[in-house]
Subunit: 348 residues, 2 copies
Amino acid sequence: MRDVALRAGVSVKTVSRVFNDDPHVLPETRDRVSDALAQLNYTPNMLARTFRDGRSPVIGVAVPSISDPFFASIVGGVEQVASRHDMSVVVTSLGGEGAHEEGRVESLLKRQLGALVMAPTADDQGYLARWAGKLPLVFVDRPPRGLDADCFVEDDEGGARAATAHLVGRGHRRIAFIGNSTSASTTASRLVGYRAALAEAGLPADEELVQLSSLTSGGALRAVQRLEALEAAPTALFSSDAETTMALVPALVGRRLAITAFGDFPMAAMLSPALTVVDQDPASLGRLAAERAVARLDGPLESPAQHVTLPVRLLERSSCRSPQDLVELFPWTVPDGGGRVVWESPRP
Amino acid sequence: MRDVALRAGVSVKTVSRVFNDDPHVLPETRDRVSDALAQLNYTPNMLARTFRDGRSPVIGVAVPSISDPFFASIVGGVEQVASRHDMSVVVTSLGGEGAHEEGRVESLLKRQLGALVMAPTADDQGYLARWAGKLPLVFVDRPPRGLDADCFVEDDEGGARAATAHLVGRGHRRIAFIGNSTSASTTASRLVGYRAALAEAGLPADEELVQLSSLTSGGALRAVQRLEALEAAPTALFSSDAETTMALVPALVGRRLAITAFGDFPMAAMLSPALTVVDQDPASLGRLAAERAVARLDGPLESPAQHVTLPVRLLERSSCRSPQDLVELFPWTVPDGGGRVVWESPRP
DNA sequence: TTGTAAGCGTTATCAG
DNA sequence: CTGATAACGCTTACAA
């Protein structure tokens, strides 16, 4: 920039003005500077600009796993809004366990983010209190614990209750709940909804029917086997999240069960039978969170936190027959661990 | 930081030293500073540090769409490596069309990225020449055009040839190619592979059988209908990418065709029939690209560009019967546009 | 309309 | 071992 100023015979401040389209520059001067700019093909150093005003035009996004399609959609939504506001998006995966959350998030925060959007994995976000006044913190999918902040979640309890009631309406009386650990608050809320539906139908809440399995396909299979071994085995399943459902599907091959799941996912409609699911809208979640963050950035940081619950919809497909009418699930598929390698690229 | 120095009765430089574990500090001084640090709960300003050394510890990732599971996995791979090296990841979606590429990428670059990993969508990356000397540029999935740079792609041609040959081996003689626009170099290479397989089998290259459809499910359906209307309709399809395949699946409901696809995707093994696919490894692609970027960051920027082609594998599942033995595809599914809404959360 | 000076938070340099 | 000073590139406040 100094070089440009020198070449154009002006001060650096004038160069800065030209760059920022400050109207108080003589057209003639402007041209001279523009020429110099072009000749040296000067690129402004955003880092310096950013440093100067102390906050970077960056929205941080922290999610359990960036490669999970659900969270990838949230990130996509955030990115869409961010780019409209000339902000970038930095992402961080937290891992499922919550152990890394604080470290990962703190290291993001140290970079003077403009705002943070996060789906927490740890049990407590109290450590964020010291940041709360400095930048907008917006939670998505899961509310914060030990901290009050803006939050966009979906109607976990209502959706789970509707999905369970749907199975009850089909005549099922033994309905299992399968989900990952209740450390995720979404799972806890869905469990509440599930139990509410059973209670409303006057069905007993049998704890044996609640399986908090790990998310591997092996774990899902074991959970299903435990359920089958029960004296009064369930005729239907409610799966608490898309990740669990995807792990569960291979375990259900050839079995006879009805199933309803929280969370749609690619190809759920093309399975055989097509899965009846509670449909969420992760992209909107991301967009709304980002918009809230941007609004806080412009306006006052301190107004009371908003807690928004987005509606979800129960999408009926064909996976919920009545107990008498149950059919084999996924009858055509071959549960061979994903296929047989019949060719491979030659290695160099 | 000045406050800390004041409180500890030392200079800011000493505070800095304590912070950076500089050994040349008396233990006693160190303790005093540490106390002050804790009491004021000082947080180092990474932005300033970063500004000072002129380059930010950030890897930029530019992909067509962050919410596409394939690219989300690439981002996940990059992020994994980045976090091992204490770097963050900023992501940007380019959109399928290439029109926004230059703008989006330039605005990333202006932020003094440490390195850039990208899957280009435009026809030409010549505009990046001025950046090539300043930071590592690493391409993934698709090679750059109009620029030489490090590049990690998968064996598109070989995989497509194997997948097509697999269909030929099952007795198919009329095999269609469906993909998105050949502006993506991956599609172009796969088309080459497809043609090579036909040529090797002595089959004619009928241009009517090559359908470059748009990626919507309606577009896929029209492409299939055009193929069916052909005088000599195909008995088998080769789908050129996962996005196309996912759009295609609903269009194939109840039809009789064999199908092979480039690119695995969640639940492909659970469709009925399970899809035979060319399996890629996007997470590795991302990891390798990031590792290369980091290596260039440490070592010399200027060594010759490396072009690496990763092997792919053909995963046989059940979607490739012989023409005589063809069955209805996805017979159980209900092509009702994804389901019927039977319940919705009450709106506030 | 243009220029000067100061400062954002950190670290390298070099002197003490 | 510790400290003063300058510098990174840019912009704001103020002066000319």
